[in-house]
């Protein structure tokens, strides 16, 4: 693609992820690793295949939600991008800059463009730090790295304004986290993410630990902030009704694979992947009358220690046929911004249980 310098900034996606892989070696003792496969003793290292080649991009100001059940790798994707984990493979471009191989020092300026909101409002704030220092920390780090004087005081001052912006006030600045409710703590976490004025916020289940009425407050705040600061969100959630409310586009993950991605309305009105369809019909709603076509899954998610051959979903899929065991389906474009990783796309006549 050849583009002029002027429009790169707008056209460059805020985040591009290509073939992201994340594996974790399972640390266990020698006895657990010992096997006698093939007649002689050998040491085997087990590896958790948490993320297996995930690709997507997020435009500036866009909200992409990753949904899926526990263990599907959605949070791992978030943490690999935020470089809490070092990715095992693939490319990550933030605002056009390839950061996959960056070390700590090179990564620091990038962190001013990307921040994170966490799931647990109790564990995500250091109980021994005052609120103003919690909120100030990312900015303070940036200022100190640039060698600017008075970093601590300046970052604290900025923190006060941020606290007000997220609905707290300056008196709260010198208190400790335990003096706040869950919803207020989540506001503090949001203020911390905003302190460096990032273009991308990675939100890992930001409302799932909150009561439903507080959930609405936080979702509204996040949407207001997006309008105000032009934020892009990578929004991780298991709650389809929340995702339906907040996302522009949705990616569905299963066992570390991205199985379907589509614009929100498209995904809810015309899901293609069997897993997406099962997920949508399993989600409880307050209005059971509008239940989608019933499709119930048997069994449970296979272990990420030993991925099934071929399609990751074939062990539970009511449509599975021989090709699904032999060949791993690739994510392919089916039009209208929708992509699906399923062999049924090529053989629609099999789409009958």
């Amino acid at each position: 693609m050849t583009t002029t310098r002027a429009d790169t900034t707008l056209a460059t996606p805020m985040l591009e992820v290509e073939n992201l892989e994340q594996r974790f070696p399972l640390r266990s003792g020698i006895i657990d690793r010992l096997t006698f496969k093939g007649g002689r003793p050998r040491l085997v290292d087990s590896v958790v295949h948490a993320v297996n080649g995930v690709s997507f991009s997020i435009a500036k100001g866009e909200v992409l939600a990753l949904v899926g059940e526990s263990g599907c790798g959605k949070s791992t994707v978030a943490k690999s991008i935020a470089r809490i984990y070092t990715p095992s493979g693939g490319r990550i471009r933030i605002d056009g800059e390839e950061v996959g191989g960056y070390g700590h020092r090179q990564m620091l300026p990038v962190r001013a463009k990307m921040q994170m909101i966490f799931q647990d409002p109790f564990a995500s704030l250091n109980p021994r730090q005052k609120v103003r220092d919690i909120v100030a920390e990312p900015l303070r780090e940036q200022l100190e790295a640039r060698g600017e004087g008075n970093a601590k005081a300046r970052a604290r001052e900025a923190a006060l304004a941020l606290l007000e912006r997220v609905g707290l006030n300056a008196e709260h600045a010198t208190r400790y986290p335990h003096q706040f409710s869950g919803g207020q703590r989540q506001r503090i976490g949001i203020a911390r993410a905003l302190s460096v004025n990032p273009g991308l916020i990675i939100a890992d289940e930001p409302v799932s630990a909150l009561d439903v009425s507080i959930q609405a407050q936080i979702l509204n705040l996040m949407m207001d902030l997006r309008d105000e600061f032009g934020l892009a969100y990578l929004f991780i959630s298991h709650d389809l009704s929340v995702v339906n409310h907040i996302a522009d586009r949705i990616g569905v993950m299963y066992l570390g694979f991205l199985v379907e991605t589509a614009p929100r309305d498209r995904l809810f009105s015309a899901p293609r992947h069997p897993y997406t369809r099962a997920l949508l019909s399993a989600a409880p709603t307050i209005d059971p009358a509008d239940k989608a076509v019933e499709m119930e899954l048997e069994g449970e998610v296979p272990s990420a220690l030993a991925l099934p051959s071929g399609c990751c979903f074939r062990t539970r899929c009511p449509f599975a046929f021989d090709r699904c065991t032999a060949e791993r389906p690739r994510l392919q474009d089916v039009g209208d911004g929708q992509s699906v990783a399923c062999h049924l796309v090529d053989e629609p006549e099999r789409d009958r249980p």
């Binding site: 409710s181 009425s213 609405a216 509204n220 207001d224 298991h238 997920l279 989600a283 449970e300």
Partner: protein, 342 residues
Amino acid sequence: MDHQSATAPLLDVRDLRTWFHTFSGTVKAVDGVSFTLAPGEVMGLVGESGGGKSVVGFSLLGLIDPPGRIEGGEILLDGEDIARASEERLRRIRGREIAMIFQDPMTSLNPVKTVGAQMDEMLRLHTDLDEGARKARCVAMLESVGISRAAERLRAYPHQFSGGMRQRVVIAIALLASPRLIVADEPTTALDVTIQSQILKLMRKRIAETGAAMILVTHDLAVVSEMVDKIVVLYCGRVVETGPAREVIANPSHPYTRGLVDSIPNPKHRKPRLAQIPGAVPDIRNLPSGCSFRPRCPRAQARCAEVSPALAPTRGTLSAACHFPILEEVAAAMATTGGERA
């Protein structure tokens, strides 16, 4: 309503008060809760954290430990007040009359005993069956909750089951002695949605088959609306609204219930902003005067600060504890004019 008055209630909770005496003051976790449950009826006990819903559940089984205490009120099970029953009597009631299903199956299963041993123990305690009959019953029960190769799985330990399977085992144990009431405290909250829907479907089916009554304690209105006949909404230890499930969710008359329902994102009526209840649940040791919901309520007036409202019929089949209930029926999610700025 008519068929209910015809049969005597299985459970009649009257003015239940369960308080916790802590260093920083008395926590009135449950403060004057009343409801009745007919045989075979499924009731949802809903509310946000701090509402007291789990404490009600634990009170029913006599599982309140110091510094907590049932301070007053009656829990009539078939006319017998079990709030004052001896520990001896409660042990007989638990399992046989009332069974409990917890959120985390690991807390109710013993990790060092096989599933079979735990099921057998339940039957030995509560039935006169001989060993062969007990085993047959256990196998049949495991199969009925969808666990294959049941005879073999009896010898497995809890950690050898996945989360969903474990919850099935807990349900099987709960149903073993054919209790007449099951208290399920957030039984699917720890599970994934596809597993949750399996478990809910299973519970609905098995409970209908056995004719047991159930109290489902949950924060999730969507789960409740798919499962229960009637809903009791708690806020700060008191009942704020009760009525048939459909009606409570479609057209609640208490502003708190209205707020709860509206704050759930509804794909059918998508708006740029969700309706939100402002503020947070107050500190239960330091409740506001009058109605506890007053500081967060869009309809509050001077009277709400003075008199604590009593539960009274509001509209149709609903009852609410509110001086100014919502009397007009409004289509869901149209009632409030969007939330105010955060």
